[in-house]
Symmetry: C2
Subunit: 332 residues, 2 copies
DNA sequence: CTGAAAGCGCTAACAT
DNA sequence: ATGTTAGCGCTTTCAG
């Protein structure tokens, strides 16, 4: 049995193709009685639209692309983000096509989509350039580090939340917070770093910054954490900027003879389930992956429909989850 | 400027549509000279095929679907899996459409794909039923727990690796290993559990099993871990079946006055970066997400081309990474 | 080795 | 409020 087409539905309902099409899409042209007849016929025949035909006719694809940079260390945020995007797209009857780095190697690569959502665009990412060059509407999660601009942005003020976190550490008795910063060049990492330096200046604190990249293992982050504790013995709080830094630093802190949550407060700029499960559990900023994904998709659909103008920018609030690792002596 | 079509290419090369199409797809019909002329014209015009038109004509979609169950706790495995699938699909010039649970609520939901890859199909998952009912070729990562069967399977012998792990623990001096099992009903969780019980029987060891689910937080797994240590004081090794269990159990073990890697060996049936970064680092079975994804996609394309028969089953070998948490006293 | 013509299933334009 | 016609861009007959 070949699947039913719109002509089969039209015939069964005793109307023309056009009327069937209008009825199925809810266009006001048709009378209620006709619409019902068409819908009944469609459901009886198990009719499902042929998206290729619609796409060819309307010059749309019925899919949006989702670009995920190939890093494993923010996997929880990314995966939640994917769920958020797919969820919203489903509401618009759109599919989501995933795009990952590496495909730019294909000479004529062009995903078959109407628009794009990009997570964490990084400076100098060839795939980002490639996708922007396609000329489709693009919404990015987090602002572009420089140069080109996407059609829309959903961003969070990581700098502001870093200040909130620093104030919290100070309130819990920390006098010399250190930052284990991320070497990645992104709006997010820069915001955290600048905000930290500004806070230190404002509070007359000497900054203590180490930089690490997070690849397949945590050894570099751990070495940097150890070095900073050794070099600056009066450091009494440590913030891990990247996902994984704080968890990686924890054993190093303990090995250095410090007690997390008492004489060394530990916190992360990116929350994840490992931080919740650790002992002591680690204070962190929730980056709200699912909501960010959903918001990006919503903005993209508004852009596609023309409902929102190019250049739109939406700020997504974050949340600081205070846990045991920043208890402080006073609360002990 | 509307994009160039195949007619534009044909005209520029001085041939017919048909010949242009044949040349572009490398069909043997055309002479070398003609092909070159067509390819040159195409590249000069920046021609990109209109996939909707091809799809309509050939009744294919140019995309495969990837179903990811909505759980965050295996995020690293899943995300690597996605990369593996997309990578292979790209080699076949196919897009990958992500499908997540929840979409089955839409009455006529049917993703626009030629075939499907499903990760970890669980018993009673409505979306799994729904996707199978579409009648498309389906490859699943891990075998189906029961009932319906997919067109092809890529699976790993988690039971066998659990035995390897148990033998390793015994060799490092453990006499009474306990299992913190997963409540999820999947081929994977069942294989681990059965294999554990069989091993205990074979070695005359009294089994010690606790069952936990892993949702947004680790508290249940932690409570179960604490209870088993309390109830069975001679337990000297603990295996976390699900991703996250071992990491969650670690602080509980320490709080119970046990020393990980010495009087209590800790291991996980699913590896992740948190386990590598912990102190002590935790011995784990590498579930090879990226390779599993790639293998699933390869099998799906072989099934789509008819190169492989329905019912194919491929075993993917895993790997045990021995780390500090199962050092044992002797090696101390 | 190449071309002409038909048609995939749908929707937009133009009727009535 | 509904029907008729044309055509989206491609691949597949069928004819040379």
């Amino acid at each position: 049995m070949t699947p039913a087409t719109i002509v089969d539905v039209a015939r069964a309902a005793g109307v023309s193709k056009t009327t069937a099409s209008d009825a199925l899409r809810g266009h006001g042209r048709v009378s209620d009685a006709t619409r019902e007849a068409v819908l009944r016929a469609a459901s009886e025949l198990g009719y499902a639209i042929n998206r290729s035909a619609r796409s060819l006719r309307t010059a749309t694809t019925g899919a949006i692309g989702l670009y995920i940079p190939q890093v494993v260390f923010r996997s929880e945020h990314y995966l939640s983000f994917v769920y958020g995007v797919v969820d919203v797209a489903a509401g618009f009857d759109y599919d989501v096509t995933v795009i990952v780095a590496g495909e730019e190697a294909r000479p004529n690569y062009a995903p078959h989509v109407d628009g794009l959502v990009m997570i964490d665009p990084a400076e100098g990412d060839a795939m980002v350039e490639r996708l922007l060059a396609m000329g489709l509407p693009v919404v990015s999660s987090e602002r572009f580090p420089s140069g080109q601009q996407p059609t829309g942005v959903v961003w969070s003020d990581h700098g502001a939340y870093t200040r909130v976190l620093l104030d919290h550490l100070a309130e819990r008795g920390a006098h010399r917070p250190a930052l284990l910063a991320s070497a990645t060049v992104s709006d997010w990492s820069i915001g955290i770093q600048e905000s930290y330096l500004a806070w230190c200046r404002d509070h007359g604190v000497e900054p203590a910054v180490a930089v690490a990249t997070f690849g397949t293992d945590a050894s570099q982050a751990q070495a940097e954490a150890a070095a900073i504790l050794e070099r600056e013995p009066d450091v009494d709080a440590l913030i891990g900027a990247s996902d994984g830094f704080a968890a990686a630093a924890a054993p190093v802190v303990t090995a250095a003879g410090r007690v997390i949550g008492e004489d060394l407060l530990l916190a992360s700029c990116v929350d994840n389930s490992a931080l919740r499960a650790m002992h002591p559990s680690v204070t962190a900023i929730d980056t709200k992956g699912g909501e960010a994904g959903a918001e990006c998709a919503r903005l993209l659909f508004r852009l596609l429909s023309g409902e929102t103008e190019r250049g739109a920018s939406i700020e997504l609030p974050l949340e600081l989850h205070v846990r045991e690792s920043t208890q402080g002596r006073s609360q002990g």
